[in-house]
Amino acid sequence: MSHSTKVSHLSGSEKVTYRISGKVHYGRYFSAALIFLGLALIVRAFWVGHIRWELVGDYLFGPSIINGIINTLILTAAAMVVGIVLGLAAALMTLSQNPVLNLSARAYIMVFRSVPVLLQLLIWYNLGLVFPTIGIPGLFSVPTTDVVTPFIASLLAFGIMQGSYTSEVIRAGLLSVSRGQSEAATAIGMTRMQSLRRIIIPQAMVVIIPPIGNEVIGMVKYTSIASIIQYKDVIYSAQTIYYTNGRVIELLMVCAFWYLLVVIVLSILQRYVENYFGRHHKR
């Protein structure tokens, strides 16, 4: 498939024409063929394997599955909001001159990045064992298990864990904005808050958004762990169904389909958001 062009130039007074033949990329054709072969084998294996694909189709839009994926999305969104708010606060605290704020933010990041999120989830969910009731002494008091529902326990575990990671991302973003930007903002009479909100954070977004996008995508999948404390996410719904009918793989495939779809949509959204915040970089 080599293509050729003709190039002419003058050599002395005589006109000479050369043919140029492009490189032939044998390696590319070979590797592509290899991958197609591999894919074909995998597809065949699943086709002849013991999966009833028509059942996958039947359950795909079943009400409890749809309800499950909605719960997955709700938990993802809520945990990311908590994570970003905590992350921003912790990032500003680590950049603060105040040693108490600085140290407590660093301790927070240290603790919640070190303990596995599954462990955090179990601790939050079992908080009732330590504190049977919570409230303000003398004012009101409620049983802990009424407050720390599977949703609240998951929100706390994932949100607080996420905050400790996101704070590092936000800190790096804030530091990526040159000092001159905040000096210029200070010089026209902006307060520190105005300068952060109007000048620093919008520019830091260019650096912050791509990793946050990855973290949102990560969170979609992290939330599946919440199924072990009976949060009714998509995996919990699938398990509830296959405990009764035994179609395990079919229902897990349904879950896989939904995660794939959600992540693809989020990836496309991420591209748009990145372009929006990076628009001033275009010349």
């Binding site: 026209i188 902006m190 109007r198 520019q203």
Partner: protein, 255 residues
């Protein structure tokens, strides 16, 4: 007589480095003062202490009679809250060596930002005034361009318009042409020349001796954190009295 700027015995240390060793200077209304001197002599530090981008270790700065950053009670200086200091800074324009335009805002938005956010002027009014100012620095057609789309000289002219938008009583220029390609220096100097005609009080840290000679009322020569010599612009350039001034001028001119 009250001065627009009154600097009294300013001291600034960076660790063990003594950047300003007791600088005092008075500048009258409408005066244009150029500060020259070798690098590390404290010129920029002095400028940055005037609007408290750097906090001096001792000494005070008065602009239009107000002590910048402090409130005098009896014989005690109390640090002002951030908001009040920000208000004081908003009347002191500053133009930076690296322009420092807000990178995520267009030229017009850069000029409007201060009036809208700090002064709380209506968008439409700020836009009108912003366009006038861009017109004045010759960039009306660049209103919707982002800084990355502008040349260094254009960026610096937008930065000047941004400073002017706050109706400053004083404009500070920190080596405004030092980061520019040689062929872009003159357009910025031309814009600054225009400003001097409007009777604005200006302090310009610069290496452009020609500009200083033409527009400055006074030149201040600094070395090692002190004012070595100050005087009438032409006079100081032609007849520098202090040997260090003579040395500096000879070195600058010989290249």
């Amino acid at each position: 007589m009250t001065f627009t700027v009154e600097i009294r015995d300013l001291q600034k240390h960076y660790g063990t480095f003594h950047a300003l060793r007791g600088v005092s200077l008075e500048i009258g209304q409408g005066e244009v003062v150029c500060i020259i001197g070798p690098s590390g002599s404290g010129k920029s530090t002095l400028l940055r202490c005037i609007n408290q981008l750097e906090t001096p270790n001792a000494g005070i700065v008065r602009v239009n009679g107000d002590i910048i950053g402090y409130r005098l009670e009896g014989d005690e200086l109390h640090a002002l809250p951030d908001r009040s200091l920000a208000q004081q800074r908003s009347r002191i324009g500053m133009v930076f060596q690296q322009f420092n335009l807000f990178a995520h805002k267009t030229a017009l938005e850069n000029v409007m930002e201060g009036p809208v956010i700090v002064r709380r002027i209506a968008q439409s009014e700020a836009r009108q005034r912003g366009l006038e100012l861009l017109e004045r620095v010759g960039l009306a057609d660049k209103a919707d361009s982002y800084p990355a789309q502008l040349s260094g000289g254009q960026q610096q002219r937008v930065a000047i318009a941004r400073a002017m938008a706050m109706d400053p009583v004083l404009l500070l220029f920190d080596e405004p042409t030092s980061a520019l390609d040689p062929e872009l220096v003159s357009e910025v100097l031309q814009t600054m020349r225009e400003l001097t005609k409007s009777g604005l009080t200006m302090i310009v840290v610069t290496h452009e001796l020609g500009f200083a000679r033409d527009v400055a009322d006074r030149i201040v020569f600094m070395d090692q954190g002190q004012i070595v010599e100050a005087g009438d612009a032409r006079d100081l350039l032609i007849n520098p009295r202090h040997p260090r001034t003579q040395e500096f001028l000879a070195a600058v001119r010989s290249h």
